[in-house]
Structures are given as structure tokens and as C-alpha cells.
Subunit: 432 residues, 2 copies
């Protein structure tokens, strides 16, 4: 069993390795990613055998089917994870980007340059292929990573991390930049290491994310809930409204960007509900409505106050009829989780109002909430979706795993020369 002291040692080692990664060239990092890909291919038999062991144990323990499916890793899944890893090598390097380049005075130059965060602690559930994706993102962003997988995936994760570290051994990235923890106790200790860990990324249930947020002073990147809304405006195109609603609810109901609540303008409620209800029924969606909804569709269950604040993550949809756009926006800003909310309307002015006033990371017009995703946005890869107000917000890719520093280069410049009545003035001239 690993003690607290040795976990601190692991974190220190990771930090040291990460400090070297921070200044590597894009080429060196991409070479490291390719070396990891080759090591994973070579270790595939071992990895798949370890995964079979995990799966047998999970079956014996009577693990739930969806969790089992996420745990199971066949050759196809492994190959696609390796393809994803190689894709990260093709993405632009998020480190070293010059965000500000400014002459403060003659010979005194300010640059704001992106740099890695340091060490990320990533705690995830069953899916062992997450190890590959997260390691790729950590290497490319010049960070170190301490991974903690679910206990049901222990053997798989161990073989994966062993292969990744072996791949790194011959590269410019120190293998200690990627570490694996295996016990639950270590997760709790990890959350205390604010001296060495710069960001915690919990990937799991809402209650787990909330637990992490409440038990660490390290910044946490995660979304607590995805309560997404679709508002069908009185000037909505019914056909688009039906297609978007069905897609947002049924295309993948377990996703955080699936819709949970439908708001409908009273003027269009009968026409729209009559059109959409049979199709939702075909998709086996359970509807829960307020009183006006149930006047139109009497067979619908009653929606209570609880329903407006719930992420079903399932084929259930709550429905509320609203008097106007303002009421829809107020409802969303009260009950929404700031993830993604959409309006369906042909009225440009109404759409502008909705996109402006709704407080969410994603505000959509005439398209499905399911587009709220790093791959669909063209970020190449994502570590998750953040519903926090401060950046990084929304889908977080490589860009969200870096920070910046201000570099000022002078030639003996001192502040005394710029102070007092006869002090020199700054030029503050932006350079290319």
C-alpha cells in the first residue's frame, strides 16, 4: 500500500518531469506521442489480456451492464484510442503562443506567452481507454499527469501506463510525467497536494464531481450537471423544432449535452406538441408536463418543481408552456446548469436576445444541444466540458490545459525613471 509520504514523492517526481516537458519543442512532444503509440501497439496483447482479467472480475462482481461496456476493451477500441492519440500529435501546440507583444518603452518589451499548468490530477471511472487520451493531451500540453482509474479497471490501467512510460523512456519526455494511482485512499490524498498539483479533472458521476469540488483547494475542471433546455419560440419552424427536440433528447440521452427540459411558447404549444409527441413516443420518451401541457396532451405525467432541476440522463423529458421569451430565459437562468441551451425560432431578434441573456457556456440557435462537444467544435480532443463561469468554460481541449506568463525584457530598465513628476512616459505600442 502506498502511503501519503510516497504519494507526495510521486507528485514531486511528476512535477520535476513536467518542468522539463514545459520547455520542449513541438517536434519533441510529437515524437514522444508517436513513441507511445508504437509502445501501445507492441504491448497490445498484454493490455488486452489484462483487460480480460478486469472484465472477468467485473462480471463475477455483477457489475452493471453500461459500466461493463465501458470497461471492455477489444482490439478495435484499443486501435481507435491509438488513432486518437496520434491525432493529438497533429493538433497545434498550445504552448508558446504569444498572446500579447507590446513595447512598453524603447527597449522594454512585454510578451504574454502560453505555458503549461504543471501537473494535472485526473480521476476517472471504468473506461481504461481514457488513459491513452489523457496522456496524449498531457504530453502535448507539456504537463505532467497523475492518473487514477476506477478500481474495476486496475489491471488494464497498469498495463496501459506501463506501455506509455516504456514508450516515453527513449524520448525527451521523462516517463515520470505520466503516473498511475490505484487505490481510493490515494484519491483523497491527491486532492490535498495543492503544492504539487495544479488542476484536478474528475470524470465521473455528478455526485463524484461535487465530492471532489468540496474536498480540495486545487482548481477543479468539471461540470456538476448538464440540465440543457430547448425553447420552442412562437416563431419556430415546426419541422426544425421537432427534429431538434428529438435529436437533443434521443440521439444519446446519457450525454450531458442531451436536453432535459422543453419550454414552449403558449401560442405554438398545441401545434408543436401535437407534432412532436407521437415521435417522442416512438422513441419511448417519457413526458412530464405542467398543467397547460397536460391540457393539450392529457396522458402526460405531472411535472413537479423537482423535474425542472433534474438531469434525467435518460429517456425522460419535462415540458413547460411559457408566456413569452422572457419567461423562457428566466426559467433557464433559474434552473439550468449553465451547460447548453437552445432556442428554435425564425425570429433573428428573439434569437439574439436569447443568445445574449442566457447564462450558459453554450447558447444555440436552431440546432441541437448535442453539438456542444470538443470534437464537434473542432478542438480535436477534449478533457471534458466545464460549466464553471470562469474560463476554461464549455468543451475544454488542449488550450484549456495551459496558462500564460508575462515576460518582460529590458536593458537595465528601472521603475524609478518612470515615476514622479518628471517620470518618462510609457509608449505602450503593440508589436506584430
Amino acid at each position: 500500500m502506498i502511503t501519503e509520504i510516497s504519494l507526495t514523492e510521486i507528485a514531486k517526481t511528476t512535477r520535476q518531469a513536467a518542468q522539463k516537458s514545459a520547455v520542449l519543442s513541438t517536434e519533441a512532444k510529437n515524437q514522444a506521442i508517436e513513441a507511445v503509440a508504437q509502445a501501445l501497439i507492441a504491448a497490445a496483447p498484454k493490455i488486452l489480456t489484462a483487460n480480460q482479467l478486469d472484465c472477468q472480475k467485473a462480471e463475477a462482481d455483477g457489475i452493471a451492464k453500461p459500466l461493463y461496456n465501458r470497461l471492455k476493451m477489444d482490439e478495435g477500441k484499443l486501435n481507435s484510442a491509438i488513432a486518437g492519440l496520434r491525432n493529438v500529435a497533429t493538433l497545434p501546440d498550445p504552448v508558446g503562443e504569444v498572446q500579447i507583444h507590446r513595447e512598453l518603452d524603447q527597449g522594454l518589451i512585454l510578451k504574454r506567452i502560453t505555458c503549461p499548468l504543471g501537473v494535472m490530477g485526473v480521476v476517472f471511472e471504468a473506461r481504461p481507454d481514457a488513459v491513452i487520451q489523457i496522456s496524449a493531451l498531457a504530453i502535448k500540453s507539456g504537463n505532467g499527469v497523475i492518473l487514477k482509474g476506477g478500481k474495476e479497471a486496475t489491471h488494464s490501467c497498469q498495463e496501459l501506463v506501463a506501455a506509455i512510460r516504456q514508450g516515453l523512456a527513449t524520448t525527451a519526455v521523462n516517463p515520470d510525467a505520466v503516473q498511475l494511482l490505484t487505490t481510493r485512499e490515494e484519491t483523497l490524498e491527491l486532492l490535498k497536494l495543492d503544492e504539487y498539483v495544479n488542476l484536478i479533472i474528475p470524470r465521473g458521476s455528478n455526485s463524484f464531481v461535487r465530492f471532489v469540488q468540496e474536498n480540495t483547494s486545487i482548481p477543479v475542471l468539471g461540470h456538476a450537471e448538464g440540465i440543457c433546455h430547448i425553447y420552442i419560440d412562437k416563431l419556430a419552424d415546426i419541422q426544425k423544432a421537432v427534429a431538434i427536440t428529438v435529436d437533443a433528447k434521443t440521439q444519446y440521452p446519457a450525454a450531458c449535452n442531451a436536453a432535459e427540459t422543453l419550454l414552449i411558447h403558449t401560442d405554438i404549444a398545441t401545434e408543436f406538441l401535437t407534432a412532436v409527441a407521437p415521435i417522442l413516443k416512438e422513441h419511448k420518451v417519457e413526458l412530464r408536463g405542467d398543467a397547460p401541457t397536460r391540457q393539450i396532451l392529457p396522458s402526460v405525467k405531472v411535472a413537479t418543481e423537482d423535474d425542472w432541476a433534474r438531469e434525467y440522463s435518460d429517456l425522460v423529458l419535462s415540458i413547460k408552456v411559457v408566456a413569452n421569451l422572457d419567461e423562457a430565459i428566466a426559467h433557464i437562468n433559474m434552473y439550468g446548469s449553465g451547460h447548453t441551451d437552445a432556442i428554435v425560432t425564425e425570429d433573428e431578434e428573439g434569437a439574439r436576445t436569447f443568445l445574449g441573456y442566457v447564462n450558459a457556456a453554450g447558447v444555440f440557435h436552431n440546432c441541437s444541444t448535442r453539438f456542444s462537444d470538443g470534437f464537434r467544435y473542432g478542438f480535436g480532443a477534449e478533457v471534458g466540458i466545464s460549466t464553471q463561469k470562469l474560463p476554461p468554460r464549455g468543451p475544454v481541449g488542449l488550450e484549456g490545459l495551459v496558462t500564460y506568463k508575462y515576460q518582460v525584457v529590458g536593458d537595465g530598465h528601472i521603475v524609478a525613471d518612470y515615476s514622479g513628476k518628471n517620470g518618462k512616459a510609457f509608449t505602450h505600442r503593440d508589436l506584430d
Copy 2:
């Protein structure tokens, strides 16, 4: 006495006002700032009288001189604060900036646009003129602000906020966007209002900032300490090194960007210390050195382990002789607070290593750490300097008071069309 419930009401009201501010045009916000300036000018006699009252009370209470000086507001100080306010109107609007503009597919357009954070809670000490600057920044960034000044400045703050709100009354900005709290109990309650307050900005002593960080789940923008270093490399120009050291330590020793520790390459230690010590002595700087330093300057006090981790904020400087650049970087990364650290050297390669490896918001070459400041960087105004690792980091101006949202506009686009084997591909084409 204001109860918890009524503070929640104040926060709700601020939030509602802020939601309106979020969508105002730049012109409307600038007009509001000008109206505030005129209201402050009209209320000047009242404000100055209130300040005299605060000052008399403070003198009777035997307040410390530096605090008294910060509290005292004469006509000149008020006018210069009003000039600063008007300057904020001339700064670029941080809201509505398009950071990403991308076609995801034909007719499906992604934009990432900056938007206000919502409501800021700002807790500050004596200086009543801070009310004016912070209100200006809040109005321009489209945020609401709940201000809590020090109790010694109560009358001044009340008159200032009354004038500001009166100025806003005839503008597009709802006066409720600027609120004032006056009791200490309210500060504690404010820290609990994570549902309504999006960012806490504590401006005060290090221990106060730490107290705030440990007692709220709302994001905190603040720096815990400014332990800034100057490393004099063996290839330093002695004249520049002396001037920079003297400026960084003595130009304003109470500032967080003043230097606390001097690291000197062993090869240049005798030459440099012999040159700098008499000048520092003239400026009444107390020196504390390690053993090699005291061999060169026997009269210097002993520096203990405690000294390396201390922000003196005073005319005291600790000195350590190091074997090489790596040792200097390691010392800074261990004891520094991530605020600002400088290298003095004529060796470009060494400077690059230093700027790359030192983990600080400001990494400087051949200039004084005192340049680490929003005004000097050309940000126009700042709310403070953040030593956190995640952005906003370093001096935080208007840009640090906004977040962003992802807008996606389609024409009935659904994710089902982009899924499965025959799914459409995204174009991911960046637009102007």
C-alpha cells in the same frame, strides 16, 4: 443590522441589474461612466465632508499612519480618481470580442464571444477611492459589483456609492449594479452566496486574502504573497544589476512586486556585493545573508530558512549565493510565490532558460520586478495581481473580468446526421 436574507436579496437585485448590463452597447456603458463622473463632481463637497468625519474618527481611534494616509481623501485625490474613472471609458470594451469564428458545417456557425462574469464581490481596506476605480471597471465589463469597504471608511464609501448610484439613475445601467455593504458580518455572508456571486476580489493583507480563499467556494482572484527574486547571473552587467536591485527593493518596498530575495552567482558575488551593499545601506536596507554572503560582507545579519519564504514588504533584503543558474531557478521555484522574478545577465541563452523554467506570472530579464503592474503593462486599470496558476494570472485588467460563451447558430442541424458510418463530416473551417 442587515440579515442574511436581505443580503441574499441585495445579491439577487445586483444579479438582475448585471444581467441587463451584460447586453449593453459600449456607448451606453461609457455614457454611464461619464454620468457617474459628473455625479461624483457634484457630490464632491459631501464626499469630502464624509471623509473628514472618517478621518477624525480614525485619528481618535489611534489608527496607524500608513492606513490613515490611505483613508484620507482630499480634493486632489478625488479628482485623480475621477480622471481614472473617465480613463476606463476610453479603454476597449472587453465584452463581445469574437475569439473563435468557425464554420462547423455548411450553415452551422460557431462563435466564441466574451461576456461578463456576472456579479463580483470586492472586499477592500481603507482606501475609499478604490470604490470609484472598481465601480468603473465593473460598469465597463458589464458586471454587477457588491463592494465592502473597511469600517474606518464607512462614511466616505456611503457618500461615494450614493453619488455613483445617483449618476447611474439616468443611464442604461441600473443603479442596483453597484451595491455597498458596511458590516463585517456581511463579508462572511457574501462569501457564502455562490449562487449569486461569481468572483470574489479581496484587496488587503496576505492573511486576509488567505482567509477569504479558505472560506468560500466562489472563485477568488487575489495574490497570497509577493516573494519576488532577482538573480544576478555570472554574466550580469554590474551597473544594470546594481540599478535594478536598488530599484526593485527601495523604489516602493511595500508593493507586492518589490524584491525580497537576491540570488547571486558565486563567480560574481564579491564584485557585485561590494558594489551594491553601500548603495543599499544608503537607502537604509537591512541585509540578511547566507554564509558565503557574510564572508564577503561580515556585518550582514544571518539569513535563516524562514527568510527565504518571507515577504518583508519593508526595507529588508535576504541574500543567497548560488553555484549556478539551475540552483537559482530551483530556489525560486521552491520559495517564490509565483508573482515576479527577474534575471540580470548579458547571456541570452541563460536568460531564455530562466524565462522558460521559472514558474511565475512574471518572468523578467534585465529590468526591475516593479514593472509587474497593470498600468505599466498598458492595461489602463487593474483590479489586482493574481498569483494563481490558471488565468487570469498576473496583473488583471478589464479582460480578466469577463468570461466567454460558445454560440452555435444552425438552420435545423441535428447531431444524428453526423453520426454513425454514413455520418456527414464537419468542415471546421475558420472564418474571419
